[in-house]
């Protein structure tokens, strides 16, 4: 019982460890980077939107001035803008506005803005020093263009701050149904929506499909999966097993799982597993996870409860180290755990077996990649004792050659 608890704890802890980063990635511990946190959301909307801006009055003057200098907008003088000659300050202000940073440097900025006519600029009035400056983004892009009409320009068109009017309620009708038969539009709309994000996809993949050369008897091994479904809900089939030539399959299992995306990188999976071998066929209920852990580790883990009440666990992980664009080295580990001895399948409690593999593949295409490698598998603890009692070597080293493929 203690061992059961230990195994359970180990598995769930690992699961939690791996799943947790999927939820929120912190940048903590990235040295060399210090960034401001927006202290608060900028107050993007200022009460404005009244119609008494002197925009239209100012515009003609501006137009003529821009016309005359239209050919070289990059070289235009800003000399008519007292206090605004500090061009470099302007992009900085843009950064400020959008990041809504609280900036110690801001007082200097507002200093350079002194020359502006604040009188008729709502949104600027109440701005002081280092606060966020929604009104400031207006002249930001002026760098390089004619600033002579600045005070007029700052108050018209896209330089004006936005108001705070409420958004309307979305309509419940479909406009095109005024012009086309409603059922035609409904069908087209259904197709359109399915076409933009509602597709069903599938993949069949064998990460391992290999020949294993080892002392005594050569064997083979497979580890593959297939899925079909949308972005969130999928049906998965997994299968793995191994055998020896002229002796038949030694172990073979298949899983049918419902898989649900629970984060950007991880899927939660539950369903049934059926083992054809070793021993008598056994069926398990299973729950597990599968996904991409930080540092690009592909990981999966699962708990299996057999129809006889035995609890097993499994953790797998691999990493694709790209050596060149097409040569990839894949270290891979697999741990099998058991909460109790299962004499029939010659499985001992605790860590019953482990496999360490190192495979080097060449991606002829992304979908078809032959590989060679080495695989070391070891039965441990009671499982090893079972093996020895059966006259087997609990550790096996194999040289493998196979193909990783998907379609």
């Amino acid at each position: 019982m203690i061992r059961l608890a230990a195994a359970l704890a180990a598995t769930t802890a690992l699961a939690a460890l791996v799943a947790a980063p999927a939820q929120g990635q912190s940048m903590q511990g990235m040295p060399g980077m210090s960034m401001p946190m927006p202290a608060k959301k900028p107050a993007p909307k200022k009460p404005t939107a009244t119609k008494k801006f002197p925009a239209k009055k100012a515009a003609p003057a501006k137009r003529s001035s821009t016309r005359t200098s239209a050919t070289k907008p990059g070289d235009q003088s800003m000399s008519d803008m007292p206090g605004m000659s500090a061009t470099p300050a302007q992009p900085a202000m843009t950064g400020m506005d959008h990041g809504a940073m609280t900036m110690p440097a801001a007082p200097a900025q507002s200093g350079t803005m002194e020359g502006m006519d604040h009188g008729s600029m709502p949104g600027m009035q109440s701005q002081t020093g280092a606060s966020s400056m929604p009104g400031m983004d207006m002249p930001a892009g002026q760098a390089g263009h004619d600033m002579s009409a600045m005070s007029g320009m700052a108050q018209t068109g896209t330089n004006l701050p936005a108001g705070t009017a409420p958004a309307p309620q979305p309509p419940i009708d479909h406009y095109a149904e005024k012009l086309f038969p409603a059922h035609d539009m409904a069908a087209a709309r259904r197709d359109m929506m399915r076409e933009q994000g509602g597709q069903t996809n599938y993949q069949v993949m064998f990460n391992l499909a290999e020949f294993q050369a080892r002392k005594g008897r050569d064997g083979y091994r497979w580890d593959g999966e297939a899925w079909i479904g949308g972005d969130i809900n999928r049906l998965w089939l997994k299968s793995e097993g191994e055998g020896a030539f002229r002796q038949g399959v030694e172990a073979a299992e298949i899983q049918a799982l419902y898989s649900r995306a629970i984060g950007p990188y991880f899927n939660l999976q539950g369903g049934v597993r059926h083992d054809f071998k070793p021993g008598r066929p056994t069926t398990y209920a299973t729950v597990g996870f599968e996904g991409l852990a930080p540092y690009w580790f592909e990981v999966e883990g699962a708990l299996f409860l057999s129809d006889k009440g035995d609890l097993l666990g499994r953790l797998e992980g691999y990493y694709d180290q790209r050596i060149t664009q097409r040569v990839v080295l894949q270290p891979r580990v697999e741990f099998n755990l058991a909460a109790q001895d299962v004499r029939e399948t010659r499985t001992g409690a605790g860590l019953s077996s482990a496999e360490l593999g190192l495979r080097l593949r060449y991606e002829i295409t992304r979908q078809f990649a032959p590989y060679i490698g080495v695989s070391y598998s070891a039965k441990t603890g009671q499982t090893a004792r079972y093996a020895r009692a059966d006259g087997e070597d609990p550790t096996v080293t194999s040289f493998v050659a196979g193909v990783r493929l998907w379609f």
Binding site: A143, G157, G163, P168, A187, M193, W296
Partner: protein
Amino acid sequence: MQHPYSRRQFIRGSAVVGGSLALSSYFPAWAQPVSAGITTPLPTVSGNDITLRIARQTMMIDGRSSPAIGINGTVPAPLIRLREGQNVRLNVVNDLAEDSSIHWHGLLVPPQFDGVPGVSFPGIKGRSSYLYEFPVRQNGTYWYHSHSGLQEQLGHYGPIVIDPAGEDPVKYDREHVIVLSDHSQISPEGIFRRMKVDPGHFNFQRQTLAGLLAGRDQTQKERFDWGKMRMDPTDVSDATGPAYTYLVNGHGPFDNWTALFTPGQRVRLRVINASAMTTFNVRIPGLRLTIVQADGQNVMPVEVEEFQIGVAETYDAIVTPMEDKAFTLVGEAVDRSGMARATLAPRAGMAAEVPPLRKRPIATMKDMGMGDMSMGGMQGMDMSGGAMRGVDLTAEKNPSAKLASTAMAAGAAAMPGMDHGAMPMDHSGMTADGGAMAGVDHGTMPAQSGSMPGMDHGSMDMGSMDMGSMKMRDFSKAPQVKKGPGVQTISPMPMDRTGEPGQGLEDVGHKVLTYRDLMALERNPDVRAPSRSIDIHLTGNMERFMWSFDGEKMSDVHEPIPFIEGERVRVNLINDSMMGHPIHIHGHFFELVTGHGDRAPRKHTVIVQPGGKVTWDFTADAVGDWAFHCHLLYHMHAGMMRVVSVRPKGEAA
């Protein structure tokens, strides 16, 4: 130049038997067809009654036949030439077995003629037709394309040019329409599925262990930090050169489509990015580009040497080649995995040096919306700009990489583009060519600093900034975003990047257009203050290839984004992803809030740079339901779309 390539070929060839299965195994170099140049302009249709017939066909690209969907037998579809003020009837015949549609991108038309199935009309069933009929209320360069399924990827796109009713403020002697696009031998459904099930599938420029050992790209420490975040800084484009051939007017880089000029002529280039997925960096080494129009709207002339054009944007540029020689028009994919190439020449059959592809950009913390990290004590974080870090011989680009000439002796014209990206040069004894570098105009450098906010933050006191608490997925930063697996990150500090030239162009050594350089030629038609503002977050998960607005895919959401007729609203687009998104609204133009008051540039599509923010004002003056989406075809297909509703006051709700 040849050396790195042939070595790469050798390595690949020797390392694998059966390389014919390789994604990138196109023709060997010797088998590449070399065209003397195609000067045929696009077929043109005009008048008040136009018939367009959509059908499957094949097209020849660099001597290779490829399945396509075209209109009236051509890809791109014929140039539709109209005049402002006319009425036009467009009879669209769909000869496909499936539904189709045409959206007139940038044209202000009644909603039933906007061409989005399920939003503006039911679509055009297979083997049937639909009559579009509308007054032409504007002038400029636009385009049209399918809004059904993934047909656009297959060639269902074409240019529109509308001549002004009165005198054109832009003076030119000759014009050429340049339709940039991307075409693949893989079916669009296949491309989508590969991206969906295998993140980074088409990225063959990833960081490698070999690169680390050679001192390329990020340091071990940075890779570790990025690995912890599960972010790939080389993930710049989802679909890349190894999957695509980049086209000019339907022709591959080896076809060498050629635009003719007479020396001294002012040549107007109407550049349209009709790609499904590719942001292009466009330049013509040796010629300055005077931008006179963006998205069909005239702007004050701005002189640049390069501009980035997002999917669905258009730019009109004037060039004035004075010499009797050929120039290369380069449309380099943003991730530098290939290029579209054309030639400007006084006569057919000419070609100019083709500059090599520059070094691909690597995303920075700024691209993840973490603010500007490139200053004070932040050295080493901004990896995009560093020079001389060698080249990854196993990185794969498309065959256009082979166009770069071996002997760069002709230097001057091509050199400006080479400075930073052109790493391969350094391995082939290029030091001898220092003389050619003299041709580079360093005079443009100071101008650049003015447009680079990242360089001007000297006044910021970084000392007070606290990095420890920055989270990459803090939903309190974006309360409206629906929490879910589809949202990988929330930009903690999205920045206005409209003063920057675009990803990978920060230090190319010459003047690159920024959005802030654009100023409308005419005063904006509506200069009222916005009565309200809304935020829209561009969200996604690169690991699952899920894309959405505010964490919700089109397939999840029934409610439109509501507007009242005539109201003026400020829209803040906040990019919570590490990818740029060209965002397009139908039925309206918007004015970019870039500090130009009533001369704000008016656009229909705008790139929101990675981790960046773009603000625009617009007047909801077109009653109806309108599509609003990311114009990266597969992002839209993955759900990055919404319906925008405009209703008369009092009628809504």
